[in-house]
Amino acid sequence: MKQTDFLNTVLPFKDKVFRLAKRLLVSTDEAEDATQELYLKLWKNKNKLEDYKNIEAFAMTMTKNYCLDQLKAKRSNNLTLVHSNYKDNNISLQREIELKDSVSRVHELIETLPEKQKLIIQLRDVENYEFEEIGKILDLQPTAVRVALSRARKTIREQLIKQHNYGIS
């Protein structure tokens, strides 16, 4: 596989790799580093790539594994700050500000989900993959993907409604 062939097959999903990495690693810098690292890995294994039927799914799996490894390494080194008991008690906020704010709040809520659900939400609702593809990427049964996705969506919705009601009352 030559460099141009390689770039043509592999570059179209670089944004997806980056977004998935960012979803898991949170920081943009780390996600960029991870993307570069992953593409270097793909480039080194370029001769084996032709054997895979779905290179994109393979790359997404690689991204998932790489980021989870990174997180594991980081967690063993650092203490984490968790602020799940944080409550916004300022009820005098205007409704409009509330709405603008709630987009970034969705981001925070997704961050609190377990990693599997985070991955599935990212792959389904942002990248629009079919359940079968997500199953292949994450090595899960499509039904398991469905269940986890439903759970994630319901959790986010409930949290949103809760916060929404705080704002009104």
Binding site: Q3, F6, L11, K14, D15, V17, F18, R19, K22, E32, T35, Q36, Y39, L40, W43, L99, S102, V103, R105, V106, H107, D125, V126, E127, N128, E130, R146, V147, L149, S150, R153, K154, I156, R157, L160, I161, H164
Partner: protein, 147 residues
């Protein structure tokens, strides 16, 4: 799309039973401004997904190619070696013509030096003869003053 329909879709969506097409319908619906109050939290939710799917990776992707560099380096080194060997051999050997010419030049310079030294000797003897004349005259003077 009717509100009842949207509500049905949302229920299906929460159970993860919607197809990608139906999800796109929901996303399009909530991107519009007029959303009933009881569905407002979904607006933020779907807007977030539309927003985050536009994020792009802007950095360059480095693919290092060290292997080819080494290959070219070795080729360049071997060429340099060949060229230097060729030139060293060339300096070591002098052709016969050049040697004859050099000998001729050597003889000519020798002759020129000989000519110079002969003339110098001539000049020397003249000067010495002059000195002897001067000595004779001096002796005469000193003899006369002694007496």
């Amino acid at each position: 799309m009717e509100l009842a329909n949207i509500e049905k879709l949302i229920e299906k969506y929460d159970n993860a039973e919607t197809s990608l097409k139906e999800e796109q319908v929901l996303k399009d619906y909530f991107l519009k401004s007029d959303v009933p109050v009881h569905l407002l939290e979904y607006k933020a939710y779907f807007n977030y997904f539309s927003e985050s799917s536009t994020e792009r990776f802007t950095k360059s992707i480095p693919l290092n190619s060290k292997k080819t560099n080494w290959k070219w380096l070795s080729i360049a080194a071997s060429i340099a070696l060949l060229v230097s060997v060729y030139f060293i051999n060339d300096f070591g050997s002098i052709s016969d013509e050049e040697r004859l010419e050099a000998e001729k030049a050597y003889k000519e310079t020798q002759m020129a030096f000989q000519l110079i030294s002969q003339n110098l000797n001539k000049g020397n003897s003249v000067a010495i003869a002059g000195l002897q004349e001067f000595n004779k005259a001096q002796n005469k003077v000193f003899k006369t003053t002694k007496k």
